[in-house]
Symmetry: C2
Subunit: 489 residues, 2 copies
């Protein structure tokens, strides 16, 4: 019980003195922690945020900054898109599954417009401009994008397509200089600070302090090798991020993504999940992951993707994260992007926020038969696929996968292929089970008194599907709930 | 804390009197519990088994009875097959993954011949006869079969194919009358009884009793609505099976198999997992499942399986459980088996242990084009697949998936299809993390003192792959370890 990383709960009776005290103690100053801090302070609580790194921000500040919102936000309306709560829920119920929690999705969609207004009220800026090109992010300061394949098959047959990726505006975006995530975090932290929220840095939450009646009373933390006891008079909020950088947990729960964490930070070591597990907290969706597909969408959309059997398996104009998930989980992380010379030229010239993901062809050949041999695909497999694609493409159709006609064009020669085997990476989506008020659930089914959680240490909106903006979305949304609930105590 | 199903740990200090006492208390009298009982008793412990139903047996007694063993067992040798520890491990490391635990596999393979001898010594009978036809089980009392696709692609290129499904012999097997699983369980229970093992029935483990120093000291159980306290002087062994029948847990962890439990029993409600989680026990592989594919393998092998895009995806002569997994996880549970009239006639006449799984064609047509339309597959998709298959089959080859030449034959007319959408079912493979001595691990990384587990409430040999016989195999193997370790205390 004396190790500096020991996750075992510590009895409150064993604490001889508290190093810090507050009504609400929040572990982690990323988006979930910041949202919790604002709302707990507004509810009248004295709030202390303990952040492990030297500054606020977390993974959020480094992220593209998408917040998944809809149901008719002012930004959607200003850009000319119609949406409704039901339409948004219809999409998410399919796109976030299998295993998506319909109650949570309904709750999130119902509160989505209000949440947008709350962000704006906190000072988060959004520019009313839509970016409609394929891409991971807008290339400039545009505020709205499709981020989950809403306008691609099959989702465009399930719900009316509406873009829901809301991006905070940067005044001077240049690649590598800043991120929209920073423009989300800065106003939230400024708001928290103006409300009197205190913060301590280089303080890492290690374990929970528990009263004899089972109520969480604080945390044990570590600061520069020193052990701190932090008293929470009303509640503790865990907001420490995913377990993407905990190799053991990834091996136990999500081995397909092992060794390839992305879009997260090294501090995402799962400690919050384990601290709560040590108290009997329940988990969900532990094998689910966001999956990045490391090629520029301007290329993907102009070619056809085939698996190790030379077969197409996904409409190439859908959300790249969906392509990543289907490639990793259903195609053994094996994909080849087939592009003819014209398509490659066009893709290289197209505007993109991720020019570094534009890739040269691994192989270029005069015929598909030759390319098939070069790649090492089964004899005849790629030829049959390209023949079938080209036959239908000549009529502007894609009966196999329903890529939208605007992107359907026969593949000519010379024809190349980009080797996309092992070109996925991602972060984990599973974590603590919580109520809609962000109370952490015990395996016995009831909330653990005094313990709240939000963000990627919890199982949120996404189960096995994903859309960019879901993590900053549910992190901030349920972070607010956690802050309010913890302030009530 | 007063509910009859409350999983919260109960302090030993709160127990006013014990209803039962023993050195080693085992919850569950299936294969893991029986193996633990035998070994604990042989190690000199006074053993009590608390079984929830009215009799010993568990899922094991209802099962096909396969025990996955190899490395050169006397039965393998008597049937003329060579195998080695390394060869067996090479197969399992690939077939049980991704995420398979190589240390556990090495340990299991190294002890496999000894484990076979131990079973024989306990009185489990095996007939030295090999059954080589496609099938879920041998049709008679044959003792040895391939049960994991060892002789199919790609495994036949990774390790030398050796059958490892060891089946206890029934003296008079008739469909529905008895099972090989019974012939495994009866001798084990008889052995335990002869060693003085005591058992109580209709006693359901509900929660763990814990000393103030954290050591597990017994269980709280329920018998006909009465709460019992059962003292374990040396250790508690959890051997209560999977969570396949716990709808909430399946939704949290393995939603793809939701609503379709199979090859398990209703008592598999995950209670043992939750009892241990409430103490901070760690988990692994919670989304992994065995997957049955509900069609007779004599049919599958004679046709081609296509997904919802009309594409082949698996060699049809591999283990049916592998076909089930690939169908459920990689093809959205959508498969159609394409068979011509001759193949269907041959399959219907072929010997099988599962005649009830022989299915009539859902559609029969004169041409593949017509069949494609009837099924509702994308235009041209099935025709291209059958053309490519037939072209290569005329040369006795299957370059796409490497079905063995003996099963490769062009598809003629009339041609039919069996609708196999949603034709999967299965049980969960995830559960408690344990050491190789079957100690239950805390999320902090160390064993929970006094707590052991084996069988399908633990994460065993299989991660995301499976072979028939793995569950009775690791259940009995690590059940023995649990019994020995618990007896030492």
């Amino acid at each position: 019980m004396t190790s500096m990383t020991d996750v075992h709960p510590v009895p409150a009776s064993s604490i001889s003195g508290w190093d810090h005290e507050a009504d609400v103690v929040i572990a982690g100053y990323g988006v979930a922690g910041a949202a919790a801090a604002v709302e707990a302070a507004r509810a009248g609580a004295d709030v202390l945020v303990a952040e492990r790194t030297g500054s606020w921000g977390g993974a959020a500040a480094m992220a593209g900054g998408f917040i998944y919102l809809g149901g008719g936000t002012p930004l959607q309306k200003a850009c000319g898109f119609e949406d409704s709560v039901d339409n948004m829920a219809a999409f998410l119920n399919v796109a976030m599954g299998p295993g998506a929690d319909e109650n949570r999705i309904a709750d999130y969609c119902a509160g989505s417009v209000d949440h947008f207004d709350w962000l704006v009220d906190c000072g988060v800026p959004f520019k009313a401009e839509f970016w409609g090109e394929p891409g991971w992010e807008p290339p400039g300061d545009q505020g709205l994008m499709f981020t989950g394949g809403e306008n691609a098959f099959p989702f465009n047959t399930i719900a009316k397509p509406a873009p829901r990726g809301h991006v905070p505006q940067m005044t001077d975006k240049r690649a590598g200089e800043a991120s929209a995530g920073y423009m989300l975090m800065k106003p939230l932290v400024d708001t928290a600070t103006s409300l009197g929220v205190r913060s301590v840095y280089d303080v890492r939450a290690v374990s929970l302090v528990v009263q004899s009646d089972g109520r969480v009373a604080g945390i044990i933390a570590r600061q520069y090798g020193k052990r701190l006891a932090v008293r929470a008079h009303r509640g503790v909020v865990l907001a420490c991020g995913s377990f993407a950088y905990n190799d053991a947990m990834v091996a136990q729960y999500a081995p397909r993504i092992a060794g390839r964490p992305a879009a997260s930070i090294e501090q995402h070591d799962g400690q919050a999940i384990r601290m709560a597990q040590a108290l009997g907290a329940d988990l969900a969706h532990m094998d689910a992951t966001e999956v990045a597909f490391l090629v520029d969408p301007q290329q993907t959309v102009r070619g056809i993707l085939v698996n190790g059997r030379g077969q197409r398996y996904v409409p190439e104009d859908t959300y790249s994260g969906r392509i990543g998930q289907l490639t990793l989980y259903q195609q053994d992380d094996t994909a080849f992007l087939i592009l003819d010379g014209d398509a490659q030229d066009e893709a290289m010239a197209a505007t993109s926020a991720t020019p570094l993901l534009k890739r040269q062809a691994t192989w270029v050949c005069e015929t598909v038969a030759e390319l098939e041999r070069e790649i090492g695909l089964p004899a005849g497999s790629l030829q049959a696929t390209v023949n079938a694609y080209n036959d239908a493409a000549a009529r502007g159709e894609d009966p196999l996968l329903h890529k939208k006609p605007e992107w359907v064009r026969p593949i000519g020669t010379p024809v190349g292929a980009i080797d996309l085997r092992g070109s996925t990476a991602g972060f984990t989506l599973g974590g603590l089970m919580t109520t809609l008020d962000s109370e952490v659930l015990h395996v016995g089914g009831e909330p653990i008194p005094g313990l709240y959680a939000a963000g990627r240490c919890t199982a949120g909106l996404a189960a096995w599907g994903y859309a960019s903006g879901i993590s900053l979305g549910d992190g901030s949304f349920y972070g607010r709930r956690a802050g309010r609930a913890a302030a009530k105590g």
